[in-house]
């Protein structure tokens, strides 16, 4: 009865299965959100504030609306529903009407027949401003005498943490101050959406690149004053996200323009506009004081974390909590007194970016670990191993780390990876710092080695139920999966297929359209979709398998409990029956839906105590750099890393996450920063905001640490964020090692090294 004929390795869990959208992406036939087009379509564009802080005196659209080809110009007064939106607090206006609070804040939107007509229309809108002095420093925002720049005040959140004995002291006190610059996610696929209004204007369909369809749906519906079900979202192909698509950008504007004109409207940001149109990584300042024993064991940490959230709340409060609850790093720490603040300024709004608050914390605690090592005469590896967190240890929130915590193993296995060969005396200029600039001279180049180790929470925290739903249908040997999980490049689409093949013994897995015609999958963020949507797909497939076993058992007079799946067959463990899944499912149609929820978490109390996180992952990085100490140029030669992944479900996709995350962490270490001067963004372009290129990519040596997490539905931990967290401090530590300079901020600029 068996029809097993496949000799090729089946693309099940654990195998480097190839992504189903891969070939179309190489051929240019995969549809990104910017590739959608419609008959009778208009283009939309946004008028943005040139000032970081100003009162709007008047807006005159009369000349703009007269331009041939312009169909409509919309202002705040045209918003039919809620006038504001926001992920956690709804404090950001759809269009500014009284004040603009950051450079680039939207004021109006136009729809016209051509992008160039839109541009001319925006030029023709006359806005009179009373320019105000912007609030641009964290310290000013924290000063109670500073006037509020928003009715909700200038402090988004303050969190105090008191853990253990506040008066505990160590033999040695090590202090440091650390500063992190503002990083941009810089996904390649610019913000884009196409809205199709229903013919009677009572509803709308939106194709959009986003990380979380259902959250967008909710916020859009509120602003449009429509019931949620009238706002139907479909995921347009997403050209990367990294946190920048978690907030609303052009969604509401596109829908408003389409509903007003009764025509499909497409909006697509330019790169410059993208820098203003989405939130960034929080810049911040962290002061840390470690009390340690003479041996180097951490006794207590004290300090503050101050993050600049920019003009609107976005996820600042959650980013702050992530930061303060990870400030001890992956180390035992019995006592802590710590305060975190996220403040409002007239800088661009900041929110989610890969690592979400932990990047900032890690830069500080890893700088401290090296200072401790120096103070007690130990190596960076020894001091980290001495303090390495183990299963059962607690965070400074009192939360125990209950599951797998292979911190020491991550460090040891990284340490065992080979170091690169010394820089050759015959090295070509392209291998030297500065590369094609051909400026470095060998005798000025010094090599350094540095370490970074981190802990990262997985999933959402503080009592939030970010559940995920998935549906599986089996018939005629084909499994069809439906979910609203945003595929942003990470590869959930291939993982979902692997899960279905593994659980159901099918080879053909069809993926239904990703849209809001099923329950929420939560956001593609917080390293959560493998665990959450993976758990949902797994659960739905298992329910289908149960029904299939019942069907087969009924046909053959067996107990369904004695049936199992073996490759592509259903096998009777107590008898001779072996039947292929495709044959067994011929003519039947089984559909099951599953909602996966993670364990409940708690809010923090006034002392920052509580089990606020779901789970944790760990990683170690070792960086080797060559530094031209005369010119301040850095080349990252090699990154070695061992990461706690639980279980490697797709080794090729996993390696892609590791290498990609490392490149972004390298960017924050030595290249990437949005430069602000008094609230003005100085470098909103790819010419002036420098991203790692092929020539900047270091060699990466990677060891996955596979200790399956019993709490994870597939044994696997999320892997997206850890690669970019501790690589940044590792690189900066390597530069300190090469130069002997006590570098306090990231990114490290040439002038920080050579001036």
């Amino acid at each position: 009865m068996s029809t097993r004929t496949t000799s090729k390795q089946r693309e099940v869990l654990g195998v480097s299965a190839l992504r189903p959208d891969g070939l179309a992406k190489t051929q240019g036939t995969f549809s990104f959100s910017s590739d959608y087009t419609a008959d009778n379509m208009l283009w939309g564009a946004t008028l943005r504030s040139p000032h970081p802080y100003a009162r709007i005196i008047s807006i005159d659209i009369s000349e703009a609306i007269k331009i041939d080809g312009v169909e409509t110009v919309l202002l705040a007064s045209d918003v039919p529903g809620k006038l504001t939106y926001g992920l956690i607090a709804s404090d950001q206006p759809v269009f500014a009407s009284e004040f603009v609070r950051y450079m680039g804040e939207p004021i109006a939107a136009v729809a016209a027949d051509h992008p160039e007509t839109c541009r001319r229309a925006l030029d023709a809108i006359v806005v009179h401003y009373e320019v105000l002095k912007p609030l641009t420093s964290i310290e000013d925002a924290l000063n109670p005498n500073t006037p509020s720049i928003h009715p909700d005040g200038n402090v988004f959140r303050h969190q105090h943490i008191l853990h253990g004995d506040a008066n505990a002291t160590g033999d040695i006190v090590v202090e440091g101050e650390y500063e992190i610059g503002m990083q941009d996610q810089a996904f390649l696929g610019l913000e884009a959406a196409l809205a199709y209004p229903d013919s009677d204007g009572s509803g709308i369909e939106l194709v959009v690149a986003t990380q979380w369809l259902h959250e967008d749906q909710k916020q859009i519906a509120d602003c449009l004053a429509m019931p949620k079900e009238k706002v139907r979202l479909q995921l347009g192909g997403v050209g990367g996200a990294f946190g920048a698509r978690e907030d609303i950008s052009l969604q509401v504007h596109t829908c408003l323009l389409a509903l007003r004109t009764g025509r499909p409207v497409k909006m697509q940001y330019t790169r410059e506009e993208s820098f203003f149109g989405h939130v960034h990584r929080h810049p911040g300042v962290i002061s840390l004081k470690h009390h340690v024993t003479n041996e180097g064991r951490i006794v207590k940490i004290e300090g503050t974390m101050k993050l600049d959230g920019g003009a609107y709340a976005s996820t600042s409060s959650a980013v702050l909590i992530n930061g303060v609850t990870h400030i001890q790093g992956p180390y035992k720490c019995p006592n802590a007194v710590f305060d975190g603040y996220a403040v409002r300024t007239n800088n661009p709004p900041c929110g989610a970016m890969r690592g979400f608050g932990v990047v900032q914390a890690c830069f500080a605690h890893e700088g401290q670990m090296d200072k401790i090592a120096k103070a007690v005469g130990k190596s960076p590896v020894e001091v980290r191993l001495l303090n390495a967190m183990e299963k059962g240890d607690t965070l400074i929130t009192g939360q125990p780390v209950e599951s797998v915590a292979p911190v020491a193993r991550c460090i040891r296995e990284t340490d065992a990876l080979p170091l690169p060969e010394p820089l050759s005396l015959s090295a070509g200029t392209m291998e030297l710092p500065g590369g094609s600039g051909r400026t470095s001279e060998l005798h000025n180049i010094k090599r350094g080695i540095g370490w970074g180790v981190s802990i990262k929470n997985l999933m959402y925290s503080e009592g939030f139920d970010d559940s995920a739903e998935a549906r599986c249908t089996l018939g005629d040997g084909v499994a069809t999966l439906k979910f609203a999980t945003a595929e942003v490049g990470q590869g959930f689409v291939v993982l979902a297929q692997q899960i279905a093949r593994t659980v159901l013994g099918v080879d053909v897995v069809v993926l239904d359209r990703i849209d809001t015609n099923i329950g929420s999958a939560g956001s593609t963020s917080a390293s959560r979709q493998t665990w959450m949507s993976g758990g949902a797909v797994d659960g739905a497939c298992r329910l289908v398998r149960e029904r299939l076993f019942e069907h087969v058992a009924h046909m053959h007079g067996l107990d369904p409990l004695q049936l199992i799946i073996e490759d592509t067959d259903i096998v009777d463990t107590m008898g001779p029956l072996r039947i292929s899944v495709s044959e067994a499912s011929k003519g039947v149609k089984i559909t099951q839906t599953f909602l996966h929820q993670h364990r409940k978490t708690e809010e923090l109390d006034e002392n920052g105590q509580g089990n606020c996180h779901v789970a944790f992952a760990f990683v170690a990085h070792r960086a080797v750099v060559d530094v031209d100490v005369e010119l301040g140029l850095v080349k990252v030669v090699q990154i070695a890393t061992a990461q706690d992944v639980g279980r490697s479900l797709n080794p090729l996709a996993l390696l892609g996450q590791i290498e990609g995350g490392i490149a972004q962490g390298l960017g924050l270490a030595v290249m990437e920063e949005i430069i602000m001067q008094n609230g003005i963004v100085k470098n909103p372009s790819f010419t002036d905001y420098l991203l790692p290129t092929a020539l900047d990519a270091p060699d990466v040596l990677f060891i996955p640490i596979e200790e399956p997490d019993p709490q994870a539905p597939l044994g696997a931990k999320g892997v997206g964020e850890p690669p970019c967290i501790s690589v940044t401090p590792a690189i900066v530590a390597a530069i300190r090692d090469a130069t002997g300079i006590d570098l306090k901020r990231t990114p490290v600029r040439p002038q920080d090294i050579c001036l």
Partner: protein, 163 residues
């Protein structure tokens, strides 16, 4: 939008394409995508920094966002769609998928054109030559490691097939 009433023609992937009623200021990228439907060329920076819009013009790899469309008359323009028929992807495209060089995929078509151009001009580039040739194509997802692997796979496969 006031447009020119003139018609001009572009030779794209070997076929003459007429561009009607276009505004003279349109870039080649815009015309390829929005007027002629060649969506494989992607726009991500509008200033020639990212390489997502790379096409071949007379066999040179060019950022189509920096070329005025109307100035590209009388040239041979090859887009990613013109490198191989959709039913039989070329070895570079297959290697990108096999080696995990595709994540979000937005940079991918431009990279495919850039790798094609590199290997047409230098069939056995060194590692550093590959890196230099691709340094005008920004990828934000992969960190480039799998892209290098894909290129090496193509080089070794082609060397094998010759020997």
């Amino acid at each position: 939008m006031s447009t020119s009433s003139e018609i001009y023609s572009l030779r794209v992937n070997g076929t003459d394409q007429h561009v009607k009623d276009a505004w003279i200021g349109e870039s080649l990228l815009y015309v390829l995508r929005e007027r002629l439907g060649f969506m494989g060329s992607k726009g991500a920076c509008e200033q020639g920094e990212c390489g997502s819009c790379t096409v071949l013009i007379n066999n040179d790899a060019v950022c189509s966002c920096l070329v005025m469309a109307a100035s590209a008359i009388d040239t041979d323009i090859i887009t990613v769609e013109g490198l191989a028929p959709s039913e039989s992807p070329n070895d570079i495209q297959q290697a990108f998928v096999a080696e995990g060089a595709v994540q979000c995929g937005f940079c991918t078509p431009g990279l495919i054109v850039a790798v094609h151009h590199l290997l047409e001009t230098n069939s056995s580039p060194s590692e550093i030559e590959v890196k230099e040739a691709l340094s005008g194509n920004i990828c934000r997802c992969t960190g480039y490691g799998r892209i290098f692997s894909a290129v090496q796979l193509v080089i070794s496969q082609r060397e094998k097939s010759i020997s």
